[in-house]
Amino acid sequence: MASIHLQNIVKRYGAFTGVQHMSLDIQDEEFLVLLGPSGCGKTTTMRMIAGLETPTEGNIVIGGEVVNEIDARDRDVAMVFQGYALYPNMSIYENIRFPLRMRGVPAAEHDRRIRQAADMVELGSFLDRKPGALSGGQRQRVALARALVNEPRVLLLDEPLGALDLKLREAMQDELKALQQRLGITFVFVTHDQHEALSMADSLAVFNEGRIAQIGTPEDIYARPRTRFVADFVGSSNVLPPDVTRALGGPAHWASLRPESLRLTFGGPVTGTVTALRYLGAGSRVSVQIAGAELAAFVPAGQPLPEPGASVGLGFDMAALHVMEGA
């Protein structure tokens, strides 16, 4: 269907630079997640792909064609908006039909395609209601069906699950992932939720201050963060300054050590004092003060916990100590 290439994109708003010299290649049929804190440029990047914003510099290539000068409506890219942007005056049926009418799809085909799209998101029985009569999760599905009814090459989703409660969110995450695999459409998904990003992405781009801090598979990014920002933002991590890394047996460089890689031991190689305990359900998080840093260790439920103030040792595999190239 379509691969997307962003080539050296810059987006400025007056004196403020929203996106700085960004290049990004999205493979055909890939599920790419753009992850980052608010204001990092991820939504702007998506809106430029949709054609709702024009880049100040650089090219956007979709399916081998430079689309900078092509309107949003002609890009064959569909978007699911953050607030869903359903038309309150139209029924669900009419909402899904809207793109078909606008794109001049022969009227004889409408009904079949609307029902097909609605069935795909299991909305078949709600077609004659108005959006106001639906729950958040159902509206989400309508927005999805409306975006997909025209069989776009690329589907963009802007924090689509942000308004849903946790249970519904997780169910929708599974559904979206399954849908993408079934349809074979390129999905670009924006979120600031790291769990969502890790669980859904084929490929994950972590944004920070208008740049891509790191891009790779979720496993890669979790295990081998390239910068302190990535280590900190994706999952929780002990980010170690160079002297502490060396004290733990590594090179004099910034490093990341995940709490679940640390075990409590009796004596050596490193010892420290327990400063705090936090119960997390599946286990507990134990904060240990060692020379020069405070480290968090994850202790699975069922294992004995030390008292605050107790002296404990910390053990780990050297392989888990990930030395970062960036600062």
Binding site: D71, G104, E151, L183, G184
Partner: protein
């Protein structure tokens, strides 16, 4: 799955859309220019003409407007009889504003704090209808009420309160032959006509006061009177000030009410009306019309300091 999207024929609408797309400011300019040209030309242009006119003067012998810049007309405002008019109007506007604030408070407070559902809608309509319904009809209604042979006199006779009514009418300065020809009558009608303008901003200000604030005050041991004085009143004040901008400004400029109800003493609005009409002195009328603007500018500056605009 089909590949390319099906796009309809390109029409002029599509081509224009493409132009708007590439130049988003163009659409903005197209949308804004007709209303801005209208308001700029018709309204600001007229205000400029008003200012211009006020710097002209009238030839005392021929009665013709001399189109030369002069401050003579403004100097005329400071004649004793004209200063009288201005002072009388400002006093009336102040009194009307106070009167409105006192009557509006219980309505606004009840509607904001206690009215729910149906009652809320009823209060809303109850204020909105008088606000929007015909100004002239409202004034006329009061002419019927205040007339010497009208319902108030009748009610006073039948309840044995004629003494009070006569006593009020005998008051020097504000009394008169009947209510409809006394300054009290003018005041009453002004209060009535502008009251909704006070209720609405007051209610809006009170609705922003969280109930928990009042409860906290009661919880901390404050009595009703104390809660009212030290919590509700200060919080309602921005609304009162916002409402007073309307009541004050509208009273300053009105010329119908003093013409129909009250003594024939002149107010600013009436002076403007008479100078431009029967007297044919356009420059003086224009200068008089600038007075409420000047007073309101001072008033707005004070109101702004008190944070009244957050409640608009």
């Amino acid at each position: 799955m089909t590949t390319a999207a099906i796009l309809p024929e390109r029409g002029p609408g599509d081509r224009l859309t493409a132009i708007f797309w590439r130049h988003p400011r163009l659409l903005l300019v197209l949308l804004l220019s007709p209303p801005l040209i209208w308001l700029g030309l018709v309204y600001l242009g007229s205000l400029a003409a008003l200012l211009l006119q006020s710097f002209y003067s009238i030839d005392e012998f021929s009665g013709v407007v001399k189109e030369e810049f002069t401050l003579k007309t403004y100097a005329e405002l400071f004649r004793a009889q004209n200063l009288d008019i201005i002072l009388r109007t400002v006093l009336m506007a102040g009194a009307v504003t106070l009167g409105c604030a006192v009557i509006a408070f219980p309505i606004a407070y009840f509607a904001a704090r206690f009215a729910r559902g149906r009652w809320k809608a009823l209060f809303y309509l109850g204020v909105m209808l008088p606000l929007w319904s015909s100004y002239l009809v409202k004034v006329y209604a009061w002419k019927l009420i205040l007339a010497k042979e009208g319902i108030l006199t009748w009610a006073a006779e039948h309840t044995g309160t004629s003494i009070i009514l006569d006593g009020v009418l005998a008051l020097p300065g504000i009394g008169g032959n009947s209510l409809s020809t006394s300054p009290i009558g003018t005041f009453l009608v002004f209060v009535y006509v502008w009251l909704p303008y006070m209720i609405l901003p007051m209610q809006a200000a009170l609705e922003r006061v969280p109930v928990s604030l009042l409860e906290a005050s009661a919880d901390l041991g404050a009595g009703r009177a104390q809660t009212f004085r030290s919590v509700i009143l200060p919080l309602a004040l921005p609304g009162v000030v916002a409402g007073s901008i309307f009541t004050f400004s509208l009273t300053l400029g009105d010329y119908i009410i003093p013409q129909i109800i009250g003594t024939s003493a002149r107010f600013i609005g009436l002076a403007v009306y008479q100078f431009q009409g029967t007297a044919g002195n356009l420059p003086l009328a224009a200068a008089f019309a600038v007075v409420p603007i000047a007073i309101m500018l001072v008033y707005l500056a004070i109101a702004k300091r008190m944070g009244a605009f957050d409640a608009l």
